[in-house]
Structure formats: structure tokens, C-alpha cells
């Protein structure tokens, strides 16, 4: 018998009698839907993200220009930012060629209040490695797109057909050395969240 067949038949011989799959719906009823923006902001700040409320992209742009010099490599998937960022060329690069990117600006359609995670799909990343390899990460999300819990988040995501997606919560970090928190492990050293409150 093949290894596969052997494993599967051993499992079938040993697995217990079928039990019922529980419903996750009842968990949704506990969600605190009060003031999702404030919940989100508190947790995001606690885990080391920087929060900016902005009315529009022009405000986002000015914050970025105040924080990053004109001489650093900035990449964005948002075409309206083409005057401050590379929004096209980087797509032709091999992932390793993105090693020198200083700031990446992405857009998300979904944020979660209970843990301040942001859902980003492959399309919104431009290249999969970008939100990880960049020294600094900025994400723009409309405050209207904040949901209460992970249950709501998965209801909203459904079963996308995209090849890759990630929840990202704050900058990369480690506490492996004596439990001292160090921000900037292998991924971004900072995460800025722009919450659009305008339209």
C-alpha cells in the first residue's frame, strides 16, 4: 500500500464515531459593536502601530512627506500616490530586488476591532513579499470597514480565490531575548495606519 493509503486507512480504522460540527454563529452575538474605531485605535496603539485619522489621500500624502525624505524608495499599490511612490515599475522586480524598499503604502478593505488586524490580499500587496520586506509599512483603510471580531472578518472575506492573504497587526516584533519586546524583528520596523474618516 502507498504511504498515503496506509495513513488514510489507519486513520479511518482509528477515528472515533462521527460527532457534530458546532456552529460558530452564536459567538457573533457577543461582539461589542460600540465605537469600533475607538476599540481598534486603542488596541493598535497598544501593539505599537501609529494611528492617523485622515479625511482624504491628500492628508495621507502630507503625513508621509513629513516623515520620509524624497530620496528613499517608496512603493505603493495605490495609483493616486504615483507622485510620491513607485506604483508600477516594482511589479517587474524579482522579490529579492525589493530588499531596499524603505516604505510601502498599501490599501485594505477590512480591519478588525478586537485585535487591530488588517486583512490584505495578494492583489492589494502588489508583490507578496512587500509588506514583509519593507522597512516601514503604511496601510490605508476606511474607518467604515472596521468589523468587531474575527468571526465578522471571516464572514466578510468569505472564501476568496486569491493565492495569498494575511492579517497583519502592528510592526514585526520579537520578545525572544529575556522577554524584552523589540520592535522590528524581520519585517517592518514601524506600521502606520491611516484611517480614512472622510467620505
Amino acid at each position: 500500500m502507498s504511504t498515503r493509503g496506509g495513513i488514510l486507512s489507519a486513520i479511518r480504522a482509528n477515528q472515533p464515531e462521527l460527532t457534530v460540527l458546532p456552529d460558530v454563529e452564536p459567538l457573533k452575538a457577543y461582539a461589542n459593536k460600540e465605537n469600533l474605531l475607538a476599540q481598534f485605535t486603542t488596541i493598535a496603539t497598544n501593539i505599537g502601530a501609529k494611528i492617523y485619522e485622515a479625511k482624504n489621500l491628500a492628508e495621507v500624502k502630507s503625513v508621509i512627506q513629513n516623515n520620509f525624505g524624497a530620496d528613499v524608495k517608496i512603493i505603493s499599490t495605490i495609483s493616486e500616490l504615483s507622485d510620491i511612490a513607485d506604483t508600477k515599475e516594482y511589479l517587474n522586480d524579482l522579490p529579492v530586488q525589493l530588499a531596499d524598499v524603505e516604505l510601502t503604502i498599501l490599501q485594505s478593505d477590512l480591519a478588525v476591532a478586537e485585535n487591530s488586524a488588517i486583512w490584505i490580499t495578494e492583489d492589494q500587496m502588489g508583490q507578496r513579499v512587500l509588506p514583509f520586506i519593507t522597512q516601514h509599512l503604511a496601510i490605508i483603510v476606511n474607518a467604515k470597514n472596521i468589523v468587531a471580531t474575527m468571526h465578522d472578518a471571516y464572514s466578510s472575506i468569505g472564501i476568496t480565490t486569491q493565492g495569498f492573504g494575511a492579517f497583519i497587526a502592528g510592526p514585526s516584533k520579537t520578545a525572544d531575548i529575556e522577554q524584552s519586546l523589540v520592535i522590528g524583528a524581520h519585517g517592518p520596523r514601524s506600521m502606520s495606519l491611516f484611517l480614512l474618516t472622510g467620505d
Partner: protein, 460 residues
Amino acid sequence: MSTTSTKDHAELAGQFNADEQRVDWHDETLWWIRQKRDKAVNQFPEWELLRETGSKIKEHTLSNLGNYLEAFEANALANGITVHWAADAKEHNQIVHGIIKKHGVNRMVKSKSMLTEECHLNEYLAENGIEVIDSDLGERIVQLAKEPPSHIVLPCIHKKKEEIGDLFHEHLGTPAGVSDPQILAETARQHLREVFLTRKIALTGVNFAVAETGEFVVCTNEGNADMGAHLSEVHIASMGIEKIIPKREHLGVFLRLLTRSATGQPITTYSSHYKKPRPGQEMHIVIVDNGRSVQLGRKDFRNSLKCIRCGACMNTCPVYRRSGGHSYHNAISGPIGSILAPNLDMEKYADLPFASTLCGSCSNVCPVKIDIHDQLYKWRQVIVKAGYTTKTKSAGMKLMQWTLSSPGIYHAAGKAGRMVMKYAPFAVNNALNPWYKQRDMPKPPAQSFDEWYKKNRGKK
């Protein structure tokens, strides 16, 4: 590792206890993490329902595991992923080696995977001339120290920063005497970035594999799994058969449970959902049994396959906290490791189910409600019946001596001891407990001073 394998838990715990300050630090730090867990979970009135739901989802999955694995495989194949099956550690290692050989390279970067520790993949590949670099900071540290991880979530929790500084000085060129975590972590960042950028093949573990979609989810705080995987031309993901969950929406349950139980964090920085290789990339999944299907058939122990590897049972365990992960001489240490290990080799790990006070704290914190301390108790009986008593006797006696001679443990175990004596006298006064016959057992206080104080301090 090989030098410790002949020693049992009590002897190894004795070694760890030689450095009292380190033991105190280890104990307090893990307890502090346990408290962070409490703070995080107490915010949710639905926490118990969440645990119950997680536990029941896993129970259902185990009851239909054959079908879910086949569905997962079919969906993963349709997504363009190559799926391999490995009956045991050896076959897993051969499959991984075969993929590496096919690509004509001799080095690989790896993110955290307890399964590859269980399979001793690094040693196997080293023997075959392949260099593996572990990219999780804690794992890199223990790798440089030529030690196994001592905790499934916090691999180098047993190390002091000065020791890490010495390792970095020797291997990564930091100035002698530097032990600032900030500087050491930055050094590792630079060193590992170079590794990520130059390795064609990356191996990651798997936290959850979704039958419905054929995708797998990997959780890290450091971003190391993603750096390795997205920069590689070939991504290999190794998973045990028990990582399966039926539907994507179930991730909502498990991602809420996992890190709150582990460290009190609301979620890991990255929860990455890998579904298809990126264009031009090769993606492989290795599905590993290695004794799990046998455990599935052990009615009393199959629940251990629900484990989501959060480490909460270790952080809360009075024995783990004061004996250290290496004393369990197994890839997975602590209470859950003591249930999983005897399934693989009952004789070699006969001592582990005795490395517990049966206080039940592990079962209380377990996010998927595994009856950990009951299973430890049941293993003791199986092991004695199977005739591994010599080791049992010495292990049981040594644990008792060690517990009673260590005020920290006795204090933590006092409550448990009382409970065990009251409800399960068999557990202390019986043939399994040779110590009891020969000496006077100090009576656990009816109420420890600590508890008395807590109860009474409010009263005047």
C-alpha cells in the same frame, strides 16, 4: 540532545535547578506570561464558549479526519500545490531532502516548526550535507548554542541575555559583553536578512490547514516565515495530520484562541494564508503521520491531537516552570509533551507522565479543553501495566522528593496536592507511589497561607 536522552526528567530537572537564580527567573517569567493570558481572556464573556467551540470543532475533525485530509489534498492540488505523505519522521526527512536535491542546492532557511524538531530534520539534512538556518530569533539562538528549543512558543526562554550575547559574539561578530536585547535583535535581523535573500528553498511549519480551501495558515510575530517563503523559489510546508480544520470560518475561532492563550497578545503580527504558489514558485506540503494515527486510536489519549501548540499548559505548570523544557528530553516539553511522547516510545518516555503534580492547571487554561492532567494520570497506569516500572518508580520517587524539597513547587502544588488527596487518594497512597510507603508524607495544609491571606485580607 543525545547526551540527555538516557537521563530522566528528575535528573535533568536537578541539573536545571543547580542555578537557583535562573530557576527563579524562569518560574517568574512564565508565570508573568500566564498572567498576561488571564488578563487577555478575562475581557471576553464568551471565552468559555470559544474554548468549547474550538474543542468541539477539533473533536469533529478528528472523527472525520480521513475525509477532511482527502478534501484538503484535493483542494491543495487544484490550487497548484504538490502534496506528499509521510508515514514517519524518516520518510518526512527523505521527502524534504529529495526536494532540495532536485533543485541542486545545499542550504535552506526554515521558520518555526515543532514537527521538524520532532523529526530531527536539521540533523538529518546536516548528515546529508545540507545546511539549515532557523530564522525565528529564539530558534536561531538555540541553534547557535547547539541545543533544542526548550518551549514550543518561546524556544530560548531558558537562556539569559548575557549567554545570548556570548553566542552572538562568537558567531555573529558582536562586540564582547554586549547583551542589550535591542542590539542583539538588530544583529540577528541583519544576519538573517542576508539568509532570506540568498536561500532558494524555505521551509515553514503550519498552524492550521483548511480542508474547504486547501490553504494553510502560518502565524508569526517576527515575519520570518513570510520573509523566507516569499523570497524563495520553493516553499515547503510540513504539517502533522492533526492540523486540519474543516472550514475557513473556523480560523476565526482558533486565531482568537491561539495567541491570547499563548502570551496574552490579541493576535500574532502575521497570520498568513497560503493558498497557491506565486507565479513561478513551487509549493509543497508534506503531511506527516508519525504516530498520530496510533494516538487517534487510543481512546484515552486521542484528545491530545486537538492541541494547537499555544504553550499555555507549560507556562502555567509548576513543574515545567521549575524544571525547564530540556528536562522533558522530547521535542515537545511540558504537560502536553508528556502525553504525546509516550505514544511515540513508551519506554523511553515512561518518566514524563510522572513529571506532574496533577494539579489540573494545564487543563484549566488549555484553549481546546484537552483533559491534560487526566491523561497524564491515565498514562501512569498504562505505563505501569506495560511493565516499565523501574523507571516509573525512580521517576515517581524523585519527583516527590524534588517537589517536597523545593518550596516553590510545594507552594504551587499545595492546592493540587490537597485536591488529589481528597478526591483521588489512589494517586498518592498506592503502589505507584513508593515514596509514600517509606516516609511520613507531610500533610498539605488545609489552606495554604497564601490562599488564607487572599481570602481574609478583605475582612477586618
